[in-house]
């Protein structure tokens, strides 16, 4: 078994001291793997990622139970700056490019964490090699680029910090199917270079296709986990998340309700 990179142990997250968003999420990202976190709107995917990257407090959220370990160190009390330095970086949902900066400036902001500014030049080339599309747009303002390009800018920016683990939140949001495939193909390439991924996605089909492992999250708890290939084959997953029933397509009206419980992982 490969070394575990990120371990989330049964965390509970509360926003604003009242709103319970996560009630027991446990997951494990092994080194060199792509792990997908699937679930519907509001099921807690983004919250899980933000808990891992320590961005929760910026939205008045806090981890009230459980722990998060990165390379066997507890990081739930660390901060975003140090985490990025240690190699965990998040690509936010909805891209969040700096719209008044040029594409190149956007990407460069990702390298400020590093002491040696000279390395930034090489890394910039590496980013452009992965994302050919944005090389030609490097002088234009990021706010004026297309959704797919913005997704690439955001990922390129994250790549500049030479991360070991990228937390990718909803990369397919608002993109054409072809672009989604392109983005995931790049994820696969980066993965071959040794970057691990934890991807939160609603588009279960694509996410499982490119992932090694998958977790399904519902109402703030993980209800299923397994190898991506096995998950793709499960009838309940097929029906709930892929829209394919046993006898071809089913309508959501006659969907079977699968009673699931939170499995115990400990």
């Amino acid at each position: 078994m490969a070394e575990s990179l990120l371990k989330v142990n049964n965390i509970e997250v509360v926003y604003n001291h009242v709103i319970l968003a996560l009630r027991g999420v446990t997951l494990d990202v092994e080194e060199g793997k792509v792990v997908s976190l699937l679930g519907a709107n509001g099921s807690g995917k983004t919250t899980t990622l933000k808990a891992c990257s320590n961005l929760l407090h910026a939205e008045r959220g806090a981890i009230t139970k459980g722990s998060i370990e990165y390379q066997n160190n507890d990081i739930s009390k660390s901060d975003a700056y140090n985490l990025v330095k240690d190699g965990v970086v998040q690509v936010l949902e909805g891209r969040h490019c700096f719209s008044h900066l040029t594409v190149e400036e956007n990407i460069l902001t990702g390298s400020f964490i590093r002491e040696n500014p000279k390395e930034a030049k090489q890394d910039l080339e590496r980013v452009y090699d992965h994302f050919e599309r944005i090389r030609i747009r490097k002088k234009s303002l990021a706010g004026f680029t297309s959704g797919g390009e913005q997704q690439m800018i955001a990922m390129g920016r994250a790549l500049m910090s030479r991360p070991k683990l990228i937390l990718l939140d909803e990369p397919s949001m608002g993109l054409a199917p072809q672009l989604v495939e392109e983005i995931f193909a790049i994820v696969k390439n980066l993965n071959k270079e040794g970057v691990s991924f934890l991807i939160a996605e609603q588009n279960a089909m694509v996410a499982l296709k490119y992932a090694d492992e998958g977790y399904i999250i519902e109402n703030g708890r993980v209800i299923l986990k397994g190898k991506a290939k096995e998950l793709l084959e499960r009838p309940d997953v097929k029906e709930m998340y892929l829209g394919v029933g046993e006898e071809g397509k089913t309508s959501f009206r006659d969907i079977k309700y699968y009673h699931r419980r939170k499995p115990s992982f400990t």
Partner: protein, 309 residues
Amino acid sequence: MDWVYLIEVLVGGLMSGVMYSLVAIGFVLIYKSSGIFNFAQGTMLLFASLTFVKMTENGIDFWTALFIAAGIMVIFGIATERYVIRPLANQDLLALFMATVGLATFQEGFSQFIWDSDVHGLQMSKFLDIGLLDPAPIFVSDHIPWLDILIPKFDIFASLVAGSLIVILAFFFQKTRTGLSLRAVSDDHMAAMAVGIPLQTVWAIVWAVTGIIALIAGLLWAERVSVSFTLIEAVMKALPVILIGGLTSIPGAIVGGLVIGVGEKLGEIYLADVFGGQGIELWFAYFMALIFLVFRPQGMFGEKLIERV
């Protein structure tokens, strides 16, 4: 129309506009990077110049005093970020605004408490041997024969200082890493945090830089109107400047200042009869700002929202 007189009025207006711009830049810096409208800008000016004046009155020489005052303002700026802004991070912006109102009140009392509440004169020409600080005005006709106007030398000095400050700031923002992080933070806090830009450090830098700008602006203003609480009121003139120039734009603060300076003087001289007598200089700036608020609320150079359709 006496065109030489008109030019003289225009130049006078531009020069006083520069003084407004200097104060407005301080507002813009903080607003741009953190979305906070810093009500304490005026008292920062007062505190800075009072600190400087008291030191020179106690026999410390000009450069040392300037250096120490700058140091105090930097420390003060960092402390403000650490103890006032940071505990309130992610709170409602109104709460942060109220905090700066509190800061203003505190600073007003604090500077009285450690220094005093007298009116102090400041004459930089006593310390610095620069020809431009000579109070006598320049006859431009000595240099340009066809232009027969008078310009106070000090105004030229102030404009030069302001101009170089603006060039330095522009360089800082466009070319340095810190400047780029600052612009990133002002665009999107969350994304800046996600890529590992330390927000708190960036804010501390902004407050420190603002403190130094407050010192420079305070000294120039003090030379004109003396160091006292009138300084705080002078700063209120910077409000219409940022409304006109745009809260998020440094060039806007500069152009806005010039527009207000010139508009005020022109209004005073050519429109006074229309508006019922002398003294419209006092409120004309606010009147112009009101018109801007109606027709172009983001100001001349305010950030246009980039929206994808």
